[in-house]
Symmetry: C2
């Protein structure tokens, strides 16, 4: 079984992939579009993608791709994000003048840079990729911020653990596949819908759930490409494939321009 | 009059700032937090900040800062985003091997990189800053993606105009100040509220507007820092400081954990 991730091996998505499918072969893709292409071409049977972070918010590109492509969400998980300062073997903390990482990771370690004002944060394309770059280049004035796994993957040394400002830092991942079969105990539904630009449209759309006591755990709006100032909505409903949900979706189709069920899966505890 | 922006002079925010306050002195700040600090310390009298882009979505950090800090929205504007390939004088397109820009700008010019496969996109901290870097360093194998104004600001030459994939690319900016006075013809209200984690809470919150025929033009959710999987909401209501709006806000306070009016201002045409 092969599972695709966006980013280098050792990325947080790598951890999520092995949580979903222990023992699977993880296939690293440079871009998110390539992850979805790998699913379409059956080069991989599954993918693990981040959809939101509790500090940074939603991963908009992945929500957009979930709506555009023919894939289905089979599971969710929540991964605690722990950042580490990682360098090539032999590098000491006092040698470090710059630190590479993904901009979101740098932003989540602001206190570290406040405490070490001689160290400059430098945006890089990927957390694990920054470790790979620092170790492969044998850079001794440069370190990376990434997961402990990225350090192990590329032979980097952890100079400092727990670099993140806020320990309440979690990323939510989806396991996606091409097949639309939902498993047992699937008690959560993710869906997307577009609304006609009429008065009270969102209120009416949410009424289809509220009037049936179906709880939402999440709502997200995304701009519609090519239609400035129009939005579509992503909601998570705490209900699976039951009668109330079917009736709610039927009524939502009366109100919304389109409705797409993105997946039905067991909610993470 | 001084107005702060995040980013270098020549950034899109610079254009927005001069649209809001023609002739004002624009003060460039490295980070968004510094923009808000400059307002607090009265070093500037106003700031121009992007809040959403019609392709990339919301600017989450600015929504968070609007909620945390004591500032008030006085105006909004919509700026058409046009990207240009800009290089140091003397550089030819055929010499260019890499292109620097902010990751969002690089992502909005994917077709250019598909057509020129030998040119590598390199993430940089700022669009205008990438022009400054390329021109100051007299780099002849490197170009930048930025506004025409950034080219003028730093003496760069436009090699190619209209690089953006999608011409329907707009960014919405807010003019913010410390004073809470709203002007004449203020017919739009931006507000933020937090909801208790109870069934149907968002539906009830939106009912305070729907039941009074008050239209929403926008709703955005943001994660609450330190409370994983809880969200607060940002909405724009197409109504100013009138009786229906006051009644709606009173009722919203019964439902929401907190309500903050971010600003009342004339809607952009």
């Amino acid at each position: 079984m092969r599972i695709a991730i966006q980013g280098e091996l050792g990325a947080f998505s790598h951890q999520a992939a092995l949580h979903f499918l222990p023992g699977a072969q993880v296939v690293a893709c440079a871009t998110s579009v390539q992850v979805f292409d790998a699913l379409d071409s059956r080069h991989v049977q599954a993918a693990a993608i981040p959809v939101e972070n509790t500090l940074a918010g939603p991963v908009g590109e992945h929500l957009d791709l979930l709506m555009e492509r023919e894939v289905f969400v089979h599971a969710e998980m929540r991964l605690r994000i722990q950042h580490n300062l990682i360098a090539a073997p032999g590098t000491k903390l006092r040698d470090v003048r710059q630190v590479l990482s993904h901009p979101v990771a740098l932003d989540q370690c602001r206190n570290f840079f406040r405490r070490h004002r001689r160290i400059v944060p430098v945006p890089f394309y990927d957390t694990a990729g920054s470790v790979k770059h620092v170790v492969a280049g044998k850079l001794h004035d440069t370190a990376a911020i990434a997961s402990r796994q990225a350090g192990q993957e590329y032979g980097g040394k952890v100079l400092l653990p727990a670099l993140e400002d806020d320990k309440q830092n979690f990323t939510r991942f989806f396991l996606i596949k091409k097949s639309k079969k939902s498993g047992l105990q699937a008690d959560k539904t993710s869906l997307a819908f577009g609304l006609k630009n009429v008065s009270g449209a969102l209120f009416k759309a949410l009424s289809v759930f509220a009037l049936r006591d179906l709880d939402l755990s999440k709502i997200e709006s995304r701009p519609v490409r090519g239609k400035p100032w129009e939005y579509c909505f992503f909601v998570d409903v705490l209900s699976g494939d039951d009668q109330a949900m079917c009736l709610a979706l039927n009524q939502l189709e009366e109100i919304a321009g389109f409705v797409k069920v993105l997946g039905i899966y067991p909610r993470a505890k």
